[in-house]
């Protein structure tokens, strides 16, 4: 593609997204007669809860339908391509591919993600709002007033409201947000973010059903980068232009509804469908354009979580790049620096899990190795083959 054409297409897309975000309230996805932000454990136990969950059901069923239609369209389009999407190949009812034994790190990550998501949805209802003054930069909707902690995304996207707050609150907000960002960096995305959990779950479902995903290559990642920056601009700047990012943010569609609050959904509902579909075909698709994550990525040089590489023992097999949900190519091409922490890295540990060379990749926290690649671990799934 010619560069001019590329620029035009990118700017049209970005302007389109910006307009969509600005006029988000004009596109209702599901409107309650009146929004009700009161909730309690009794409400969740009662039948009324089901009524608040309706938009969620719609989102899930639309996403499922979308996925099924996409799979069928793909099959139809590739009807002549007998090799890749033919019946034999896609008949994946039997058998399992060899897998390595689960590592402690991965199990822990899932447990932490699930517990944190639980706390961010129902935490306040069960344990009270003791930590509610802390702000963590995660995409967990602050419309849900019963979260265990506050999430920074509201004030970051409504900076004009932030400056009107009393100074103690501003300090507390900035202090906790920056503190968490420095301490954990984008490990927050990989370990804490409920949006991340949702996308990881959709990916797990795809892996279990063994449907082909969409493997993004470096060109596609390159093409999506402007969209990411456009999202950052919208995220920070929309409030000054008089818009409301929350009408556009897909995260709204999850936690307030699950917490039992009847929340009307605008563009965010449509977007959530797309996020689910995207996350199904490409792991953590939304994370590649997430504005909050991008902002956190600015601090990747100083966060305590780091990805370290022994450049000499690396064989450039690219397994880390294949496994990386964020498409960080530098991790396998780097041959000089020992620190390969990238601004996009969410510390999910997939690269370390897939690395077949001993000690070639490791995840460190404050200089201490917490997860190291190992040949034996990666081949562990094959060990018992000899005993057959």
């Amino acid at each position: 593609m010619k560069p001019i054409k590329k620029i035009i297409i990118t700017s049209v897309i970005c302007i389109g997204i910006a307009l969509l975000a600005y006029f988000a309230w004009l596109f209702p996805f599901y409107e309650f007669t009146s929004n009700d932000f009161t909730t309690s454990i009794e409400k969740i136990m009662s039948a009324e809860y089901i009524k608040t969950l309706v938009p969620l059901f719609i989102i899930i069923s639309l996403a499922t339908a979308g996925i099924i239609i996409t799979v069928f369209i793909r099959k139809f389009l590739a009807k002549k391509d007998t090799s890749r999407f033919s019946k034999v190949r896609t008949d994946r009812s039997r058998g399992n591919s060899p897998k390595q034994k689960p590592s402690i790190f991965m199990v822990l990550r899932w447990i932490i993600m699930i517990i944190f998501a639980f706390m961010m949805i129902w935490g306040g209802l069960i344990f009270g709002l003791k930590m509610a003054s802390l702000s963590i930069p995660v995409l967990s909707c602050p419309w849900n007033t019963e979260q265990m902690t506050e999430s920074s995304c509201y004030y970051l996207s409504h900076l004009n409201e932030l400056v009107e707050l009393p100074w103690q609150n501003i300090l507390l907000f900035l202090g906790s947000t920056i503190g968490f960002t420095l301490l954990l960096g984008r490990a927050i995305c990989g370990f804490l973010c409920p949006m991340g959990l949702i996308q990881d779950i959709t990916d797990k479902i795809r892996q279990k059903t063994k449907i082909e995903g969409i493997k993004m290559n470096d060109k596609m990642y390159e093409a999506i980068a402007p969209v990411k920056w456009c999202m950052v601009l919208i995220f920070v700047g929309l409030c000054f232009a008089g818009g409301n990012f929350c009408n556009f943010c897909p995260a709204v569609a999850v936690s307030p509804i699950l917490a039992g609050m009847s929340t009307s959904l605008y563009v965010s509902g449509f977007l959530m469908v797309l996020v689910l579909m995207g996350g199904f075909f490409k792991r953590r698709a939304f994370c590649t354009i997430c504005p909050l994550g991008t902002i956190m990525g600015f601090f990747h040089k100083i966060s305590l979580f780091r990805v370290k590489k022994d450049c000499q023992s690396c064989t450039e097999c690219g397994a880390c790049y294949e496994a990386c949900p964020m498409g960080i190519k530098m991790i396998y091409t780097e041959r000089e620096k020992a620190d390969v922490t990238h601004a996009n890295c969410i510390m999910c540990g997939e690269c370390v899990k897939c690395c077949p060379e001993d000690n070639a990749l490791s995840l460190t926290f404050a200089g201490k190795k917490i997860y190291t690649s190992s040949r034996r671990k990666i081949m562990s799934g094959y060990e018992q083959e000899g005993k057959k």
Binding site: T82, S83, R84, V88, R89, T90, D91, R92, R94, G95, N96, S97, P98, K99, R206, Q207, K208, K210, I211, E212, G213, K215, N217, D218, K219, C311, Q312, S313, C314, T315, E316, C317, G318, A319, E322, A323, Y332, R335, E350, C354, P356, R375, R376, I378, M379, G381, Y382, E383, E385, G386
Partner: protein, 429 residues
């Protein structure tokens, strides 16, 4: 006379071929310090080259060349891959007349086998897969095509994402051809089974290499070479099980502190063009001249099966992707334009195996390997590791030349080590 000219010629070929193979096998067996459990590997080499028998399987066999052909796919089609890269002197002398003078001996030997049509390993193949890693391979693919079905795999010059995608498409095409030839369907289940078979062999191989690293002088490189060479003619799971026994005995040797030698022999690494049985004169010479091959970076040696295919996506496409990725990205074959990763790998092997010198083997006419010598000599020179280039052919005429060079090289390393002093007083001469 009762026999025809052709028959007599064939008989002479067989006699000569079996004699050379038997000779090298004997030299291997005479070398001290073979680990327990190495016999199945000797038997395989004997079966193929001395007895000239068929491969020990009842499945159809598919001939492959180079490390880029994924054996997983062939196992998935319920066939057995047989690596046909050849080191045969007798076939080379016949191929010498067919292939141009400057072609590499490996290709000449393949051409020779094709011409005589006597080697069962070649004749049994229902199909051959030839990755185009150099011009010689390209032409030999064309030559072999009139004997059986040949599929070529185009190897790109770089390893970008688009190259991987292109290679994936080729693997799908290869899959269809495999299905046509074998009559079996490659399904999700059978492909996983293929992964398991090869994965197990790779698991045992990585254990083997881990043990080797653990204690210096645990095994001689020539024996390791025989073990790794015979992987070409054994089903992966059988090979893996046989290697498991060797691993067990090595593990025992480690706990007993039993080494192949009590002396501090210079530790030498072999790299460069493939070393294929029976052309194992170089490792044999090194070990006969008082060195030890402590590691190798050749495609019929430790490197050939080292890199595993890592499945990062559970779909069928994901598995094929893993195969394509494994075939191209970690491969230190000099066919790629930028192959600087090979230097890192050599450095890593030098560190892990405490290598003191590197012998760079070049088969005459193997241009791509010869090209890289200069760069590697330079880079390893910075580490103060001496490197020499040994050019050889598939014949025994240059053995004395090689011997002088290897000897001088081993001496060079020995001179760096401290020597024991003589204390007794000399009485007379």
């Amino acid at each position: 006379m009762s026999s025809t000219l052709k028959e007599r010629q064939d008989k002479r070929f067989i006699t000569k071929e079996t004699q050379t193979a038997a000779k090298y096998l004997r030299r291997l067996e005479e070398l001290s310090g073979a680990p327990e459990g190495i016999e199945p590997f000797y038997d395989t080499l004997k079966r193929i080259y001395v007895d000239m028998a068929h491969v020990d399987t009842n499945k159809k066999t598919v001939g492959t060349y180079c490390v880029m052909t994924p054996p997983e796919l062939i196992y998935a089609a319920d066939a057995m891959p047989v690596k046909l890269c050849s080191g045969n002197y007798t076939a080379f002398s016949i191929g010498d007349d067919i292939a141009p003078r400057d072609a590499c001996p490996l290709v000449k030997a393949v051409a020779g086998f094709k011409q005589t049509g006597l080697m069962p390993v070649y004749e049994d193949c229902s199909m051959m897969v030839v990755p185009i890693t150099c011009d010689c391979k390209k032409k030999i693919a064309g030559m072999l095509a009139d004997r059986c079905e040949v599929t070529t795999l185009h190897i790109p010059a770089s390893r970008e994402d688009k190259d991987i995608e292109m290679f994936i498409n080729q693997l799908y095409e290869l899959m269809e051809k495999l299905e046509d030839v074998t009559g079996n369907r490659i399904t999700y289940e059978s492909l996983s089974e293929g992964f398991r078979k090869v994965g197990y062999a790779q698991y045992e191989l990585s254990e083997f290499i881990r043990l080797k690293k653990q204690m210096p002088y645990l095994i001689r490189g020539s024996h390791a070479m025989a073990i790794l060479n015979s992987a070409s003619y054994m089903p992966a799971d059988v090979w893996g099980k046989a290697l498991h026994k060797v691993n067990q005995s090595l593990e025992k040797n480690i706990s007993d502190k039993k080494t192949v030698t009590s002396k501090k022999l210079p530790r030498i690494m072999l790299t460069g063009s493939p070393i294929v049985f029976p052309n194992i004169k170089i490792p044999l010479l090194i070990e006969e001249m008082g060195g030890i091959v402590a590691g190798d970076e050749t495609c019929m040696g430790e490197r050939g099966m080292w890199d595993p295919a890592v499945i990062t996506d559970d779909s069928f496409d994901g598995m094929i992707r893993a195969l394509a990725n494994r075939a191209l990205r970690p491969c230190p074959c000099p066919t790629f334009a930028d192959n600087s990763q090979r230097i890192y790998r050599l450095k890593q092997l030098i560190k892990e195996n405490q290598i003191q010198g590197v012998i760079y083997h070049v088969l005459r006419g193997c241009l791509v390997y010869d090209f890289e010598y200069k760069r590697i000599e330079e880079e390893l020179g910075k580490l103060d590791i001496p490197v020499i280039r040994l050019e050889s052919d598939y014949n025994e005429e240059d053995i004395e030349q090689l011997r002088i060079r290897i000897e001088a090289f081993i001496e060079l390393i020995k001179l760096k080590q401290p020597h024991e002093k003589i204390t007794s007083v000399r009485k007379d001469f």
